[in-house]
Every structure is written in structure tokens, then in C-alpha cells.
């Protein structure tokens, strides 16, 4: 079956790169550029995986994650956090908030593919 991935990332070029990599790997990728409508989009689509950028316009990625984990319907949804800040502090905060995986930019395409496969096969 094809894994459905919801990608929330505000940098258009990065978003395009991830969309291309994952589509070629057999995923069905939907991309959003803004944090504001993200929660509704997740609840509507109920994807197999959410990829969230930490710094987003509107609602920040961390806040979206916290709210997803607070909602019983999305409590156990796999969420991968992406950040360009790469400081230990951000990673800890994301893990405390319940991120399933944490990935620092820049990443290798292999790592991205492997992480997505691992998260969508569970």
C-alpha cells in the first residue's frame, strides 16, 4: 500500500525536494507551507505520517505537535520533526513533546527515505 505523508514546511525548495524524494519512493505526499491550517489538515486527512518543520509562520511546529498529542484521535500518529537550528535544546523539546523522529537540516536523502520507511511500516 502507498503511505500517505503530510508535509508541513515553509521553504518551498526544501518542500519540493522532500516531495520528490518521497514520491519516487512510493509515497503519496501532500505539502502545506503554513502552520495555521495544519491541525485541521491533519484531522481531515489522517495521514500515515506527518513531517513538521519546527519554525513555521502562523503556528509553530512545536505547538502543532503538542496539540496533536493532546488530541486522542491523533495521539499516536507518527510525527517527524525537521529543524535547521540543530541545537540540542530544540531536539529535547521536540522529543519531550512526543516527536516520533527528529531530523536536522541538511539531511541525506537516504536518511530521509529510511526514516520515512521505518515510521510508515509500523
Amino acid at each position: 500500500m502507498t503511505a500517505r505523508v503530510l508535509l508541513i514546511e515553509d521553504e518551498p525548495n526544501i518542500s519540493e525536494a522532500i516531495r520528490f524524494i518521497l514520491s519516487r519512493d512510493g509515497c503519496d505526499v501532500t505539502a502545506l507551507a503554513d502552520g495555521t491550517g495544519a491541525l485541521d489538515a491533519v484531522r481531515a486527512a489522517m495521514p500515515d505520517l506527518v513531517i513538521l518543520d519546527l519554525m513555521l509562520p502562523g503556528l509553530s511546529g512545536l505547538e502543532i505537535l503538542i496539540q496533536l498529542r493532546a488530541d486522542p484521535t491523533t495521539q499516536s500518529l507518527p510525527v517527524m520533526m525537521l529543524t535547521a537550528k540543530g541545537q540540542g535544546r530544540d531536539r529535547e523539546a521536540a522529543e519531550r513533546a512526543g516527536a516520533s523522529h527528529f531530523m536536522t537540516k541538511p539531511f541525506s536523502n537516504d536518511d530521509m527515505r529510511a526514516a520515512v520507511r521505518a515510521l510508515t511500516q509500523g
Binding site: N13, I14, I18, P57, Q87, K105, P106, N109
Partner: protein, 895 residues
């Protein structure tokens, strides 16, 4: 003399005066005051006491009443020699309180009461009316005596038409001269200098005629004295009552006349000048009076009976065929009249606008905030007042028939202004004098003067019916205007002087003794009476922290003008050890600001405006206590404690501010590291991902091209960021290479606007420019300056949140510096952020709206430092406002 040549001569003379005034003002503007502030100029300016009345009328007076005319010169002489300490006190008070007029002085003394300001203004305007009429009359008379038809048959206009032209011309002249700058305390150097020149002209003219009479018409002094002895003028016909009264009136007038107050107190630059004037001014008066009697005697002897003695100065040379001398005499009389009218109407216009127009406007204004351009309102009201004052003078001239002897009209004005004397003299020597007393005294004196002297001067049946003079109003005999309380044997002038002054003083004293002064009155009373007492403690009246500095700045800009207000506030802030334009509202600062504003709009108005902003209308109990405490020692001690406490507070505040700034900087540094990491990693992520995609191969060619372009764009973005960082570090180290050259500012702004137009978001943006002002050539590094402009313009495009955004670029050149202001119409930058915007990576709150990494303004600041200039944020301008200042000619690298 053909009348067209006469008119041309007058015009040429006026233009010459204008040139003198203009040159003096230019000199003063450039700060080279030098001889403009000498005791000589001061003394000569005092000579506006000698008006056309003294010039023409004194001879007439001597011809009619003998030596009595001397009282007009002796009164001021006695005051200047004997009572100069009163004058010194007035001058000291005037300078300390930044008094703008005699109305301001009295209003200020009695608790900044506007009621008193209005009373004094009304009395001064009414009393000046006959005096101005007198000048119109004498110029008109001299003109009609002197002018003859032109060669081609045009006859001179009739006296009525002449009077209209003279009044209109003088009004125009005065408006051009006197209402160019607003702050009455920033003295009118131009006018004072022109008046000094006129003083010399009239003295020379009168002496020339005198010398001609004594040495050419008579055979020298011995012959002249013989002729005088033979004449009836020399009869020693002394009336002690009349002499004493006239001496008193002339002495009072020299202190109380609005125009004398203007030159003596308001225009005084240095108290020591008064010491010189105390002997030099009587000397001038002596010189002016020296030849009066010879001219009068010779006129009576030589000219046909019935010739107007008021015109002897002019008609004697004319009758002897001395055209040039007559011309000089004519210009002397013209000088006397114009200088008097100019200064008098400026003084009156200041009073009308500060004490009547401004208070009414303050009250009628719908909101509490000071809106609109107050300066324009003040200047307009002054110009209109000048017109009205001259119009009144003309009306009086017409109504009184223009036939009364000059001296009689002048004395009416003298007695009128003498009504200020009790309030003023008691006010500066007696702390018990009160507002009610002053108001009562002046009103009573004014009414009595008007009833017994002013209104009757129009003639029986003109204002007061003839029957009232004979039987009294409603048949009440003891109220007859010329015989109050049945005193009918007195001379009318003396009668009016005696009763008005007596009742005025009595009402003043009674009122003062029966009422208790209010707190502000007591405070001002102490400040006036003890003006020479230097230990009068710290300024009281304003409490710390009640007014918002920004509100004060906005109000001051409306009154003092943007530039002056900013300079004043910046200097005050610097004095408190703060950067920027907003000093703390300490009592000292508030008091200095109030005095500064008082220089423009008068004490009462300035106090009212400040009170509104400080959120109170009355004085607090503490103020009252401070004032009531009579012991100078206690006041001094508490003042010292207060200043120590203030010192400590100031240091603590400086420390706290430094600490806060350090903490903020440290937080910013962390934020920067995180930010810079983000800014570097983001393009690198795209580059890495797409280059891996490309190496994995198996792509359609259009995707290869597309992804290749993305890699290229992101690589450029990385380079730009690194360039910015590098630029900043070079600028900060001072190792930057400047490329100096002459460039046109307008073209630089054009370049910046063109570059910045690509900035996103793209939306219509209205730019206001002032192209003529921009046409300046600046020696600087044009590329660097344009870089700063681009930054400011694109910031405005990015951040201005107005619905229809506008940006105003205004240029000003002052001395060797050029300032360029960029002001948009958005909501501006919050007050707490203003201090931080020029720091690195201080991008304000909403991170995502910005394009760059927050280095723009930091780079601008460094660029400007390298160009020997500054970039600052201007608070209180409505929107975000930046000022760029550069030297006009940057020689070598600054620093």
C-alpha cells in the same frame, strides 16, 4: 518737492532700512552678534521714546506753551538716572521669566493669570490708539506741507488719502519686519538695528535744522539767545501742578509704554547695557531737546502768523529755500514715526496673540491634544493684530478730526499706559500684591481715564453728549467728566491723571489687602520680588513623572518647530545622561521647557498647556508648602537633598539601563547564533538534497534544469548572507575603503528608489519628495550612502502597515551637514524597541515577515559612522521615521 519724488524717497529709505534689518538678521543667524548686542545699539533703540511727537510736536508745544515741553524729556531722564534700579529689576525679571510683553509680565507676576493679561492688553491697545493716530497725523501733515504737484501736473492726493496710504504702508512694513520669526525672546536683531539707524537719522536731522537756525538764520548763539529773551516763550511761566503731573506721566510712560517695554526689557541682551543707557539715553534726550526752543522762536518770528507750529522743523528750511535740509528733516520725522509704529504694533500684536487669541483657541479646541501647526496660528494672529492696531489708529485719526495739537494726543496715551504703574511697581516690590487688587486697580484706572480724558478727546457730542459735560450723566453734577467729585478748577489733563491714578492705586491697595494670594501667585510673587536673591531654591511646581515625554515633545514641536524642539529635547536628554530625544520629565526639565515655551506663547498659555499634559489644573499641597516656607535656609537644604537624591536615582537608572541592555544583547547573541545557523542551513538543505537527486540520475531533462536552477539560487542566497556578514565585520573594524567623490543627492535617491522597487511585497507605494531641496552635491561615498537609502526604503516597503502606504523623503541642509528624513505613515516602531533596532540581528518580533537576517540597520549604522554621519530614529513623527545625517564635504575617512 514733487510728490512722486517724495514718495520715491520714502520708499528708497524704507528699502534701505529693510536692507539694514536684513543684514543684521543674517549676521545674527550666523551667530556673529558682535556689535549687534552693544550698549550703543541698545541705547539708540530706546530712542523710540522720541516719536514724531517729539520730532515735530515738541517745537509746536514750545511755541504754544513755552518751556513746559521740557517735562516730556525730564520725566524719562529722572527715571533713567534716579530710578535705574527699578529698570534693572524689570530687566532681570524679564530675562529670568522669559517675559514677552508688559501684559505677560503682569499676568506672570500675579499667578500667570490670563484675566490680567487680557486687561493689560485691552488697555494697551486702547491707549496706543491715539498715539498711533498721532504718528499717522504727523506723517500726513508733513507730507501735505512738503509735497507739491509733479512737473506734469499730477497733484498730491488729499490728506485723507495720504493717511490711508501711510497706515497701509506702515502695516505692511511692520508685518514684513516683525513677524518673521516666532519666539519673541529670540530677539528681533534686525528691527532693533534698523531702529538704531533711525535714531541716528532723526537726531542728525533735528540737530542739522537747529544748527541752520542758530548759525545761518541768526548770527550765532549770542544773537539767538537775545532773540529767545525777546520772545514770550522764554517767560518762566511755571505751573507747579502741571509740571509735576507731566513729569510723573512722562516718567511712568517710559516704563509702561508697550514699545518701551519691548526694547528695554524684551530685546535686552545684557543687563549691563542698562548701566550705559542710564546716562547715554538722557544724553540723547538732551541732544534732541537742545534746539527745540531756537527753532520755535525762529518759526514764530519768521513764518506768517497762523502757520502750524507743529511743522516748523519742516517749514522753516522750506521757507528759506533749503530743499535738501527740508528733505533731511522730513526723513527724520518719517523715521520717528515709522520706528514707533513698528515696535508699538509688534509689542501689541504679541500681547493680543498671546493673551487673547491663544487662550481662546486653547479653550475652543475640541480635544486635549495640541494639534495643527500652532506656529502658523500665532504668526497669523500677530499679523492680523498689526493690521487691526493700525486700523484703530487710523479710525481715531479720522474721528478726532486730525486737527488737535500733536502734544495733546500724546499725553492722552501717556496717562493711559500709566495705569499699569501701580500693579507693576507694587508687583515687583511687595509680595502682598494680589491678582484681584491688580485687576481692580487697572480696571478702575482705565475706566476713569477713558471717561475723563480719552472719550472727551473725540470732542463734545462725538461719544459723550455735550450735556454730560455741563450737567453730568443723568444730571448728577459730581460725575461730570471734567470735574469728578466737584473738582472743577483743575486742568483737564491733570484732573484725569490725578483721579485715574488715585482711584487706581486705592482700588489696587484695597483689593490686595482684602484678598489672599493663591499658591501660584505667591510663588511668582516671591520669584519677582526676590529676583536678585540667588538662593531661591529649586524650581517647584512640576512633579516628576506625571507627563509623558513623548507628549511633551509632540506639543513642543507644534510650538517651537520640529527642528528646535528636537535639538532642545536632545540636549536635555544628554544633560540627564540619556541618549535619544526623550528626557525624563524631571521638575527641572519641566520648568525649563515651560520657560522656553513661554518665550513663544506667553507664560499663562505655556503654563496651561503644560498643566493639561501633566494632568492637573491646580497646584498641589506640596507646592503650597514649599512656597509658604519662608526660610531660604530650609529651601536651600531641601534643594540640596533633592539634587543628591536625584543624582543617586540617575546613577541607579543608568546602571539599570546598562544592565538591561547587556542582558538583551546576550539574549540577542544566542538568538543570533541560532538564527545564523538557521539562515545557513536552510539553503544548504536544498543544495544537498537536490544535488543528491541529480547524482541519483534518471530524471527528465526539464527537472534537471529546474533543480539545477534551484541549487544555483540557493548558492547565491548563501553568498549574499556571507557577504553581509563580511561587510559588517569590515565596517566595524574600520578597514573599509571609501570611494569619495561629488554626487548629486537627488540622483542618489533616484538610484535607491529604483533598486528598492524590487523589494517584496510588491504593492503601490506613494513616495513624496522635495526635488528642489534634493538638488545638492555631496562629497561622500555615493555607493555606500545609496546602500543605506535602499535599506531604509525597502524596510518601509516591508514593514509599513498602513492601508495605503506612503513614504516622505525630506532633505534639509544646515551649515556643513545634510539631513535626509525617511518618514512613513505606518504605526512606527514601539518605544521599547527603538533603542535596539540598530543592533545586529535585532529583527523585531515577527520573524517571518522579514527577508534578510536582521543585519540591514546594523550595516547602515556602521556605514554612516564610516561616512562621518549618523542614522537615528526620530520618535513622535507618526510613522517609522529615520534621519540620515551626512557631512556636506567628507574630506578623508572620518576617524
Amino acid at each position: 518737492m514733487p510728490f512722486n519724488i517724495l514718495v520715491l524717497s520714502c520708499l528708497a529709505y524704507v528699502i534701505f532700512l529693510f536692507g539694514v534689518a536684513w543684514a543684521a538678521e543674517r549676521r545674527a543667524d550666523r551667530g556673529r552678534l558682535g556689535w549687534l548686542q552693544s550698549p550703543l545699539i541698545y541705547t539708540l533703540s530706546l530712542s523710540i521714546y522720541c516719536t514724531a511727537w517729539t520730532f515735530y510736536g515738541a517745537v509746536g508745544y514750545a511755541a504754544r506753551s513755552g518751556l513746559e515741553f521740557l517735562t516730556i524729556y525730564l520725566g524719562p531722564t529722572i527715571v533713567f538716572i534716579g530710578w535705574w534700579w527699578i529698570l534693572r529689576k524689570l530687566v532681570r525679571i524679564g530675562r529670568q521669566q522669559r517675559v514677552t510683553s508688559i501684559a505677560d509680565l503682569i499676568s506672570s507676576r500675579f499667578g500667570k493669570s490670563n484675566l490680567l493679561g487680557v486687561i493689560v492688553t485691552v488697555i494697551a491697545v486702547v491707549a496706543a490708539t491715539p498715539y498711533i493716530a498721532l504718528q499717522l497725523q504727523s506723517v500726513t501733515l508733513s507730507f501735505s506741507v512738503f509735497a507739491s504737484p509733479t512737473d506734469d501736473g499730477f497733484s498730491p492726493p488729499g490728506t485723507e488719502a495720504t493717511a490711508v496710504w501711510v497706515a497701509g504702508g506702515l502695516a505692511l512694513f511692520t508685518i514684513l519686519f516683525g513677524t518673521r520669526n516666532l519666539d519673541a525672546k529670540e530677539q528681533h536683531h534686525g528691527i532693533v538695528t534698523a531702529i538704531a539707524v533711525e535714531a541716528v537719522v532723526k537726531l542728525i536731522a533735528l540737530i542739522a535744522v537747529g544748527v541752520f537756525v542758530v548759525w545761518f538764520m541768526a548770527d550765532g548763539p549770542a544773537d539767538m539767545i537775545a532773540r529767545i529773551d525777546a520772545s514770550e516763550i522764554a517767560d518762566w511761566n511755571l505751573q507747579p501742578g502741571r509740571w509735576a503731573g507731566l513729569l510723573f506721566a512722562a516718567g511712568a510712560a517710559v516704563i509702561c509704554l508697550p514699545r518701551m517695554f519691548q526694547v528695554m526689557v524684551v530685546e535686552n541682551a545684557d543687563e549691563r547695557h542698562l548701566a550705559t543707557a542710564s546716562w547715554a539715553f538722557p544724553l540723547y534726550l538732551f541732544a534732541m531737546s537742545l534746539f527745540i526752543v531756537p527753532i520755535a522762536v525762529m518759526g514764530l518770528e519768521r513764518l506768517p502768523a497762523g502757520a502750524n507750529p507743529d511743522m516748523f522743523v519742516l517749514t522753516l528750511p522750506l521757507a528759506e529755500g533749503q530743499g535738501a535740509l527740508a528733505m533731511l528733516a522730513f526723513l527724520g520725522g518719517f523715521s520717528s514715526a515709522t520706528s514707533m509704529v513698528i515696535v508699538e504694533s509688534i509689542a501689541l500684536a504679541t500681547m493680543v496673540s498671546n493673551h487673547i487669541v491663544m487662550p481662546v483657541w486653547l479653550r475652543l479646541r475640541p480635544s486635549r491634544a495640541v494639534s495643527g501647526d500652532v506656529r502658523r496660528l500665532v504668526l497669523l494672529s500677530r499679523r492680523i493684530s498689526i493690521g487691526v492696531v493700525l486700523g484703530l489708529g487710523y479710525a481715531y485719526y479720522r474721528m478726532s478730526g486730525g486737527s488737535t495739537a500733536l502734544a495733546a494726543i500724546g499725553l492722552i496715551a501717556f496717562v493711559g499706559v500709566a495705569q499699569f504703574l501701580p500693579a507693576m511697581v507694587f508687583g515687583i516690590f511687595w509680595r502682598g500684591a494680589t491678582r484681584i487688587g491688580a485687576a481692580l486697580g487697572m480696571t478702575v484706572g482705565f475706566v476713569v481715564w477713558a471717561y475723563t480724558l480719552f472719550l472727551p478727546s473725540f470732542g463734545a457730542d462725538a461719544v459723550i453728549p455735550a450735556m454730560v459735560f455741563i450737567d453730568g450723566p443723568w444730571g448728577i453734577g459730581w460725575l461730570r467728566p471734567r470735574a469728578l467729585f466737584g473738582v472743577s478748577t483743575m486742568d483737564p489733563l491733570l484732573h484725569a491723571l490725578f483721579w485715574s491714578m488715585f482711584l487706581n492705586t486705592a482700588a489696587f491697595l484695597t483689593g490686595s489687602l482684602l484678598t489672599f494670594p493663591g499658591p501660584v501667585e505667591r510663588m511668582q510673587g516671591a520669584a519677582f520680588v526676590r529676583v536678585f536673591d540667588t538662593t531661591t531654591g529649586s524650581p517647584r511646581g512640576w512633579q516628576r513623572g506625571l507627563a509623558e515625554p513623548e507628549d511633551l515633545l509632540v506639543m513642543s514641536q507644534r510650538i517651537m518647530g520640529d527642528e528646535d524642539a528636537l535639538v532642545f529635547f536632545e540636549a536635555e536628554a544628554k544633560g540627564q545622561g540619556k541618549a535619544g530625544y526623550l528626557p525624563d520629565p524631571t521638575p527641572e526639565f519641566m520648568a525649563r521647557l515651560e520657560r522656553r515655551l513661554a518665550g513663544s506663547v506667553g507664560a499663562a498659555t505655556a503654563h496651561a498647556m503644560m498643566s493639561q499634559l501633566a494632568g492637573r489644573a491646580t497646584v498641589t499641597v506640596e507646592d503650597l508648602m514649599a512656597v509658604a516656607s519662608e526660610s531660604a535656609q530650609i529651601m536651600e537644604y531641601s534643594a540640596r537633598l533633592e539634587s543628591q537624591q536625584e543624582e543617586v536615582t540617575r546613577t541607579a537608572r543608568a546602571l539599570r539601563e546598562a544592565n538591561e541592555k547587556l542582558m538583551q544583547l546576550s539574549i540577542q547573541k544566542d538568538a543570533f547564533l541560532s538564527q545564523i545557523s538557521h539562515e545557513l542551513r536552510t539553503p544548504m538543505t536544498s543544495i544537498r538534497a537536490f544535488s543528491e537527486i541529480l547524482t541519483e540520475g534518471d530524471l527528465p531533462p526539464e527537472l534537471v534544469a529546474n533543480y539545477g536552477r534551484i541549487i544555483h539560487d540557493e548558492a547565491k542566497r548563501l553568498t549574499r548572507l556571507l557577504d553581509d556578514l563580511l561587510d559588517l565585520s569590515v565596517l566595524e573594524n574600520g578597514t573599509v575603503q571609501l570611494n569619495l567623490g561629488l554626487s548629486n543627492l537627488s540622483q542618489m535617491i533616484d538610484r535607491a528608489l529604483a533598486s528598492a522597487s524590487h523589494t517584496k511585497p510588491e504593492r503601490s507605494f506613494i513616495i513624496h519628495r522635495d526635488l528642489p531641496m534634493e538638488n545638492i552635491f555631496i562629497r561622500t561615498d555615493a555607493d555606500r550612502l545609496v546602500q543605506v537609502f535602499i535599506n531604509l526604503i525597502s524596510n518601509a516597503r516591508k514593514y509599513c502597515d498602513a492601508a495605503s502606504p506612503e513614504l516622505r523623503i525630506s532633505v534639509r541642509q544646515k551649515g556643513g551637514r545634510v539631513t535626509v528624513d525617511f518618514v512613513d505613515n505606518g504605526s512606527g516602531i514601539a518605544k521599547d524597541s527603538q533603542a535596539l533596532i540598530f543592533e545586529k540581528f535585532a529583527r523585531l518580533t515577527d520573524q517571518t515577515r522579514a527577508g534578510g537576517a536582521g543585519l540591514g540597520l546594523a550595516i547602515c549604522r556602521e556605514v554612516m559612522a564610516n561616512l562621518g554621519g549618523t542614522i537615528t530614529y526620530l520618535p513622535g513623527q507618526g510613522g517609522a521615521a529615520f534621519r540620515v545625517a551626512v557631512p556636506l564635504r567628507l574630506e578623508r575617512k572620518a576617524g
